[in-house]
């Protein structure tokens, strides 16, 4: 068997076990390295500089994590990429942050993201845009762009905590040549996650390799009574499933994901990877998911409807930005929201509000929920025949910043067509590198049945050996 890709994290854990890491200066050194990364690629909104000076016992700060900036970190500013939350320092930790701290992890910094997750390229952020470490004229992908950027570029052991609503883990993982795991909906507690679309929001992990991402998920998963949609399932060590047998695994290849709208080289890389898995005893067959073509519309209607209610709370009261107390309440919050929400946030608030207005609600919001149910049904049917479904992660390679600027909102939204269906269904996915195209990485995405993250880790681990 070919050895697994060398994991910096794994090596670091081994050195920790052998007490071969000088913990007195480990965390401060990591912070210095993070600052250097920031100079080159700006993946962070906030670097946890306080950490170096904090009176924390160093020996508990063993493994560095970066955290997407929509996940609440007690005492560390959390903006969700929005100006409206610029001064916001949460009074509590998200559940996944608790778990990281309990596991001996520490937060290096909060990573760049599209405002509230509203974007595919991590270019809709109030604080800048992360540059792709492989080609800094190109984007990292979004919305967890900063997370993938750190995962790709860090020369220190590190796991990125990322989050997806419609593909925000898979997209940046594919664009940066990293591995991104999006778990089953509910696997990781959403307590402390600043909501985009609650029925689809999932916290996951991005790492340089499958081991890193799998370790990240193992740490942050688990039942949490503070999240009513939390999955009541036992905690699993997914790293233990790396290298496990996938001999009888049947891979479904959905025709709808290999159409003319996907770059040829990306399709070829994905299909080559699937064929490469044959040496592990894997077989594959075509499957059909006919409602895929409606997924983008359904996704954006549901996501925007939910988002427009989630963003209603940002009114310049209690937390976040405030304004001069002029006029009545309506004038006050309208002025404040107008000033501090970005363009894409405003677009989604308006569209989402429209989609749930009485008179349009049936035609848009409720109809979209029906489409969602249909898409879930088709996935269930497919999983009656196959163990995993393989698709290209993204239809294109990471575009250049100037190319992104030229896209219309609709073209922009359409970029999510590979990732949105599984997010509507809440199915776990993993994106792993499948090769390159024009010098940029391409990704293959495996979609698993509910709670089958273990299978995804095993098959993705095999991909690293193809």
């Amino acid at each position: 068997m070919v050895p697994l890709i060398q994991s910096l994290v794994k090596k670091h854990l081994e050195r920790l076990a052998a007490e071969d890491v000088n913990l007195d200066d480990f965390a401060p050194k990591v912070i210095e390295k993070a600052k250097a990364l920031q100079e080159r690629f700006s993946p962070f909104i906030t670097i946890n500089e306080k950490l170096a000076s904090e009176n924390m016992p160093r020996h508990v700060m063993k493994l560095p994590f970066s955290v997407k900036d929509n996940i609440c970190t007690r005492g560390i500013r959390t903006t969700a990429g929005s100006k409206i939350l610029e001064p916001y320092v949460p009074p509590f930790d998200a559940t996944c942050i608790h778990q990281i701290k309990n596991a001996g992890g520490f937060v290096v910094g909060k990573t760049m993201m599209d405002e509230f997750g509203f974007g595919t390229f991590a270019t809709n952020c109030a604080y800048g845009a992360p540059k792709n470490p492989i080609d800094p004229t190109r984007v990292c992908g979004g919305s967890s762009g900063g997370a993938a950027c750190v995962a790709a570029a860090a020369e220190f052991p590190h796991i990125a905590i990322a989050q997806s609503t419609g593909g925000s883990i898979t997209a940046p993982a594919a664009f940066t040549g990293t591995v991104g795991i999006t778990p089953t909906y509910g696997r990781v507690s959403r307590w402390g996650l600043i909501d985009y679309a609650n029925s689809m929001d999932r916290i996951g992990a991005i790492g340089k390799c499958v081991y890193d991402a799998a370790l990240g998920l193992s740490i942050i998963s688990g039942y949490d009574p503070m999240d009513s949609t939390s999955l009541n399932a036992p905690k699993t060590d997914y790293t233990a499933l790396l290298g496990s047998e996938i001999k009888h695994l049947r891979v479904g290849v959905p025709v709808e994901y290999f159409g003319a709208d996907v770059d040829e080289s990306i399709k070829r890389n994905a299909l080559d990877m699937i064929k490469g898995l044959e040496s592990f005893g894997v077989t594959w067959e075509e499957v059909s998911l006919p409602s895929t073509k409606y997924a983008i519309s359904a996704y954006y209607l549901i996501a925007m409807s939910e988002a427009s209610t989630n963003l209603a709370k940002f009114c310049g009261l209690r937390y976040g930005m405030e304004g001069p107390l002029d006029g009545n309440y309506e004038q006050y919050f309208a002025q404040l929201r107008g000033k501090y929400f970005g363009e894409e946030a405003k677009r989604r608030i308006i569209l989402g509000t429209y989609a749930r207005m009485s008179g349009y609600r049936d035609a848009y919001y409720l109809k979209a929920l029906k489409v969602r149910a249909k898409i879930i049904g088709e996935f269930r049917k497919a999983f009656g025949r196959v163990g995993v479904i393989a698709t290209p992660s993204m239809p294109i390679i990471a575009p250049r910043f100037d190319e992104v600027k030229k896209l219309t909102p609709v073209e922009n939204y359409a970029m999510d067509r590979m990732t949105v269906p599984s997010n509507l269904a809440g199915l776990p996915t993993i994106s792993v590198p499948s090769g390159t195209s024009s010098g940029m990485p391409t990704g293959i995405q495996f979609i698993g049945n509910y709670e089958q993250e273990g299978t995804l880790v095993a098959v993705a681990g095999a991909c690293e050996q193809v």
């Binding site: 996940i71 609440c72 959390t78 969700a80 939350l85 916001y88 949460p90 009074p91 509590f92 998200a94 959403r190 307590w191 402390g192 996650l193 600043i194 909501d195 679309a197 609650n198 029925s199 009574p225 503070m226 999240d227 009513s228 949609t229 409807s305 939910e306 427009s308 209610t309 209603a312 709370k313 940002f314 009114c315 009261l317 209690r318 937390y319 976040g320 309440y329 309506e330 919050f333 509000t353 749930r356 207005m357 009485s358 609600r361 919001y365 929920l369």
Partner: protein
């Protein structure tokens, strides 16, 4: 008042330990503003609601008591509107499928249909400083109330008079108290919105009226106002009004040309809750005794007339509890009822107090009745004493000690009266029975009408007899 149509919505703060979606206490006694709050009820980014199942069970009790159908599953929706009392700018409520539907409550001879009972969270409390809602200088927000569990009870527009509404509310309050779902002693509130239209005209909503008397007043005012408008041929507009309890009038808050659009979506943070038949029947099995059942029991168990039983039970559930506790300690149910109905209630009402928050206790009240029974004090004196007792809560025995007029030395008074009225004494001795009545009247006056005439009579006869023997 032909053509008056009234429907009401009642918001009842539920008697749960904690709020609807977080673990903050629901008990608002001795709470400073913004003390009982957390990231959830303040709507902090990243916080998520977790349902308090007990609130659902209390809601089911209400539904069952009002003969409603209970839904077989329930879910929550987001009702979005921008108002400073709503921390998330949306309220978590029930929209499409309420917890309970299609019930009724009979008031007098009228069946008032219940459209729905649903569970929702209470908004924060706004304090209008320097005026009321229409003209305040500024507004303070107290989030203690934010997220408190509410049951909203909505009737069909079946009321034809404001008086009926008042009666309905009295009955409903007693039911809610008997169900244990509402406890005013914890500063829980019951708030009422009323919709009223005349002769099929536009519907006017009067919002957030506290106090049942005020509901009746607000509606009476609306009838006069709307009739006046009709006489002057001014069209009644669809609008929301606010009741001003200082002037007993309603003021316009906002015109409603169209149905308000709250953009309801399913709350994706809260999964669907199945309501199994077993769950409903376990609630049914453990339903507390309802006021109607209790009235029947009182008539049977204590031989009370239905009117007395109804007053005791519908005036205030705690009053009926107090009555039963007294009866356990003093086995004369009719006497207890008389004294409660005629004197205790009057004193409480005069102080606008409810028994649970008053200083009246079963032990001391029974003591008073015992003092009357064994003749230690007269009924007349007891009627005076009870006022002071309700005021202070001091036991009647202690009050008597304190008061010099408490214990009358009847023998001394009688002796003095006999000495001062020798003529009448002689007349009595010569056989004039009217003279005894005269002497009795004198003694009564001399005791400030505090002494029991029966006892005076006895004392007179004793002393008159003694003087004959002399």
């Amino acid at each position: 008042m032909a053509g008056v149509m009234i429907g009401i919505e009642v918001h009842c703060q539920l008697n749960t330990e904690s709020k609807l979606f977080c673990s903050n206490s629901n008990d608002m006694r001795n709470k400073k503003p913004n003390e009982s709050v957390c990231p959830i009820c303040l709507g902090y980014p990243g916080s998520k609601p977790v349902i308090n199942k007990h609130a659902i069970e209390l809601g089911m009790r209400i539904g069952l008591a009002l003969d409603c159908k209970i839904a077989d599953s329930m879910f929550f929706s987001r009702k979005t509107y921008f108002y400073p009392d709503m921390s998330k700018s949306y309220q978590i409520t029930q929209y499409e499928v309420p917890l309970a539907t299609e019930g009724y409550l009979t008031v007098g001879d009228t069946k008032i249909r219940i459209r729905r009972v649903h569970i929702e969270e209470d908004p924060a409390k706004l304090m209008h400083v320097g005026g009321d809602i229409t003209n305040a200088e500024y507004v303070l927000i107290d989030y203690n109330r934010s997220g408190v569990a509410l049951a909203e009870i909505v009737t069909e527009p079946d009321f034809t008079t404001p008086k009926q509404v008042h009666q309905f509310l009295d009955n409903l309050l007693s039911i809610l108290e008997h169900l244990g779902v509402y406890d005013s002693s914890k500063e829980a509130t019951l708030r009422c919105d009323a919709n009223i239209s005349l002769d099929g005209g536009e519907r006017v909503e009067v919002k957030n009226i506290t106090g049942f008397e005020n509901v009746e007043k607000a509606l009476n005012f609306e009838i006069i106002r709307q009739n006046g408008m009709k006489r002057m041929e001014v069209k009644v507009e669809r609008e929301t009004r606010h009741f001003d309890s200082d002037s007993n009038t309603t003021k316009s808050l906002r015109k409603k040309e169209y149905e308000e659009d709250y953009g309801y979506i399913f709350d994706p943070d809260l999964p669907v809750i199945k309501i199994s038949k077993e769950w409903v029947s376990s609630i049914k099995k453990n339903m507390p005794e309802l006021p109607d059942q209790r009235v029947k029991r009182f008539v049977k168990q204590y031989a009370l007339d239905e009117y007395t039983a109804s007053v005791l039970i519908y005036a205030d559930k705690n009053l009926a509890d107090f009555y039963e506790e007294c009866c356990r300690n003093y086995n004369k149910p009719q006497t207890v009822a008389n004294w409660m109905m005629n004197y205790l209630l009057k004193s409480l009402n005069w102080r606008s107090e409810r028994i649970k928050n008053s200083k009246v206790r079963v032990g001391t009240f029974v003591e008073l009745l015992t003092l009357i029974e064994n003749g230690t004090i007269t009924e007349r004196y007891a009627k005076e004493l009870i006022k002071e007792y309700v005021d202070t809560g001091i036991s009647p025995k202690e009050l008597m000690k304190k008061s010099s007029s408490g214990k009358i030395d009847l023998d001394a008074v009688v002796k003095k009266v006999l000495e001062e009225n020798k003529k009448a004494v002689d007349e009595y001795r010569s056989g004039k029975q009217e003279a005894l009545k005269f002497l009795l009247g004198r003694v009564l006056v001399a005791t400030n009408k505090q002494a029991d005439p029966k006892l005076i009579n006895e004392a007179l006869l004793k002393q008159l007899g003694a003087s004959i023997a002399q």
